[in-house]
């Protein structure tokens, strides 16, 4: 045994005055009485020199000395060698992934893990140190190594649930780094439901104690949801949904789809045990918005019962047609959805007007100008389509008319030629062009003359595009073919770019790089708002509009919000989550993890390992000495007041 503070033993000298006070006789009080008769009788019955009288005096002295000894030893802080040798360093790895939110263990698996963690903290022995690492979407040290129980309890309670994937293996690696270099006994205690690959192998490792949580329970979940705009239909969109039955029983339920709370489809599903089903839906909507898929069967994990996707909205496109008159051309643009058509009829000899410049920040916002049989002196801003240009322009030199050209080659790779075949189209006449600008020929005649091509603008404006179709529409049957509206729809889609077709739903725990609109009013804070209304500021690098956000550790719709002065300062989190004011960008985040949706415990997780219990003598020796002193002083008080001792 060693003494931590041996100098405290000096206080044992206080025993000397205690003994002296007991040796000294107490001076008795003098009280005048009328007779000594009765006193003498009592004196004879209970002689002070009896054995008990002497023992009583001695016991009183011994009790006082024992009390002093207990206090002095407690101050000296004795410690056994075996206590020093048994000191441990423990890292508590708490799995707070999505599957830990399952409520098969009330109130949840994560709460059960925290209760288990509290028991381990309360069982720390003298000299033990413990750290806490969370193993959710991102392994994180919640508390470094310490022996302070309150700090550990606070850190354990501060671990919040996430909908992210399990990162136990990475968290254990982090725990081992925390434990490295220690001479004490090292352990990593993993509190998990085992919902990750390699759990059995991890449980077999010598320095790991794995405590399994949760029961065997089935779960139905949406494991994938994506929505994108149709490449063919400007207002069409496609939805892909994957639903899995991670249980040992067949399940019958309904899959419901709605767009901004408007129901769009309900599908009854009947899945066999372990079965997965993928469904694709095609719908139309120009507005877009939040698309939600949900299953109407409640189970122990709610995070995968609902999934979200963001459907980009489609705004009307301004198309200006300058023509001497062609009813087919006008009708084809009128027939294409979301086209805001303006027709300018030209007279012979009239100078070709240039439409006003419209500022736009994205390709889809730029106007489209269609010149039919006319060519302006300078190219207008925006996207431009030339149909049968009759004279030379900035990008080509016009030649003679081509008679009866036959399409000998068309570009099968270009999205502009999707679902189009021009080889059987009658073209009595076309205009021969010698292209001056870099071009991609989409269709050319047998003589190598371009019939349909896209060109680069000389100004280097990469967003603004130019296309030219040399066919004489008045003589050709192209306007009567189904290829013609498809050709024009493809062209308008290509002008708009493909950026707005898909805003991918992200898996929970992902980190995303997003592009934000340029800052118009500096000083206004931009925040990332979680589905439950929590906000965190976004720092956009100077001169950049791209920013990294995440990890998105909760399922639902996340928003990047431009906060106005004093906005939402007094709102609660739920109100904030539903507030669409100032939203710059929305990101859908889904569980989308078959492993997390499977709540059945993995094979190979052992029962609670032995050796984690506190055992005997978890406290330092001074603690027991002081407790003994407390009991002794109370007992001695009773004996003294009742005159059992002097």
């Amino acid at each position: 045994m060693n003494l931590v503070h041996p100098t405290a033993m000096v206080l044992a000298g206080l025993a000397v005055p205690i003994v002296i006070f007991y040796i000294l006789k107490i001076r008795l009080r003098r009280v005048p009485v009328s007779t000594l008769l009765f006193w003498e009788q009592i004196f004879e019955e209970k002689k002070p020199r009896s054995l008990w009288q002497r023992l009583r005096h001695l016991i009183s002295l011994l009790l006082q000395l024992a009390f002093l000894a207990l206090l002095v030893f407690a101050l000296a802080d004795p410690i056994f060698r075996w206590q020093q040798a048994r000191a441990r360093r423990i890292v508590l790895v708490v799995d707070n992934s999505a599957s830990m939110n399952a409520v098969d263990v009330r109130p949840s698996r994560l709460h059960a893990a925290q209760a288990e963690g509290r028991r381990i903290i309360d069982g720390l022995r003298l000299g033990d140190e413990l750290a806490i690492v969370s193993a959710g979407a991102e392994p994180r040290v919640a508390c470094g190594l310490t022996d302070h129980p309150r700090t550990l309890h606070q850190a354990l309670e501060a671990i919040t649930p996430t909908d992210g994937p399990t990162r136990v293996v990475e968290a254990v690696a982090l725990a081992r780094r925390l434990l490295s270099g220690s001479e004490k006994r090292r352990r990593a205690v993993v509190l998990t439901d085992g919902g990750f690959d390699g759990v059995a192998e991890l449980a077999r490792q010598d320095d790991i104690d794995l405590i399994g949580l949760g029961k065997k329970t089935g779960n139905i979940g949406i494991t994938r949801l994506q929505a994108r705009r149709s490449l063919l239909d400007p207002i069409g969109y496609e939805i892909l949904v994957e639903v899995a039955n991670a249980s040992d029983e067949p399940a019958a339920f309904r899959l419901e789809l709605d767009l901004e709370d408007d129901p769009i489809d309900v599908v009854p599903l009947n899945l066999q045990p372990g079965e997965r089903i993928v469904q694709v839906f095609e719908k139309t909507s120009a507005e877009g918005g939040r698309l939600r898929a949900r299953i109407d069967r409640p189970d122990d994990l709610s995070a995968d019962n609902t999934a979200w996707a963001i459907l980009p909205s489609r705004s009307p496109r301004k198309v200006t047609l300058l023509t001497h008159g062609n009813v087919f051309l006008e009708k084809v643009f009128e027939a294409i959805p979301l086209v805001d058509l303006k027709v300018i009829k030209l007279q012979d000899g009239q100078p070709v007007p240039v439409p006003p410049v419209i500022a736009a920040t994205s390709p889809e916002g730029l106007p489209v100008v269609v010149y039919h049989r006319t060519v302006p002196e300078t190219l207008p801003s925006g996207h431009v389509l030339f149909i049968e240009p009759m004279r030379s322009g900035p990008l080509w030199d016009a030649g003679e008319a081509l008679h009866n050209p036959v399409v000998a080659r068309q570009d099968p790779e270009s999205p502009l030629m999707a679902h189009i075949r021009l080889d059987h189209v009658l073209m009595p006449e076309a205009r021969k062009l010698a292209l001056k600008a870099p071009a991609r020929v989409l269709a050319e005649s047998a003589g190598g003359d371009p019939l349909y091509a896209v060109l680069d603008r000389p100004e280097g404006q990469s967003q603004e595009k130019v296309a030219v179709l040399t066919v004489d529409l008045d003589k050709s049957d192209l306007p009567l073919q189904t290829a013609f509206p498809i050709m024009m729809a493809n062209l308008l889609s290509w002008f708009g770019g493909t950026k707005g077709e898909l805003r991918e739903s992200l898996p929970a725990g992902a980190v995303a790089e997003v592009e934000l609109p340029p800052e118009k009013s500096p000083g206004r804070e931009r925040v990332l708002r979680s589905p439950d209304g929590r906000e965190q500021p976004i720092v956009v690098p100077a001169g950049s509009t791209r920013v990294t956000v995440g990890p998105l550790d909760r399922t639902g719709v996340w928003s990047v919000v431009q906060k106005s002065a004093g906005s939402a300062a007094s709102k609660d989190q739920l109100t904030k989550a539903n507030d669409r004011g100032g939203v710059l960008l929305e990101l859908a985040c889904n569980l989308a993890d078959r492993r997390e949706s499977d709540l059945r415990p993995a094979e190979g997780i052992p029962e609670r390992p032995a050796g984690l219990a506190a055992g005997w003598a978890v406290r330092p020796i001074w603690y027991y000495l002081l407790a003994s002193a407390w009991m002794l002083t109370c007992w001695e008080w009773f004996l003294y007041q009742r005159r059992w001792i002097d």
Partner: protein, 118 residues
């Protein structure tokens, strides 16, 4: 675990607050004091009661883990050392030399070295 708030910038903490139940013996001390058979004058008896009560209270507070909580002023430093392939042998030697100079006692818990590489 419970914190004790004061109007002063000092915080006290009881790590085992259930030990405060041990103060329940104080009424017992007073009871046996009132029924005492000890032949002492009143002021002596009152003094003994006061001293005994103080001893019991101090022992209970000690067992309850009364401690002073204050923010640490210790400085903790973490060195992040790039050991990737692009650093090269010469760079690694320079890093090792610097760390050996900056971290003279590797077991010092206020200093940490974190090496990162692929």
């Amino acid at each position: 675990m419970s914190m004790i708030s004061w109007p002063f910038p000092i915080q006290l903490e009881l790590s085992r607050p259930w030990w405060l139940l041990g103060l329940a013996v104080l009424p017992g001390l007073v009871y046996y004091f009132s029924r005492s058979l000890v032949d002492l004058v009143r002021w002596q008896r009152l003094l003994s009661l006061g001293l005994r009560g103080a001893i019991v209270i101090l022992l209970i507070l000690c067992l309850a883990g009364l401690s002073l909580v204050r923010p640490t002023r210790d400085l903790f430093v973490v060195f992040a050392a790039d050991r990737s392939a692009s650093v090269g042998e010469q760079g690694n030697q320079a890093i090792a030399a610097y760390l050996a100079k900056a971290v003279p006692h590797p077991r010092d818990r206020t200093i940490g070295v974190r090496v990162f590489r692929k």
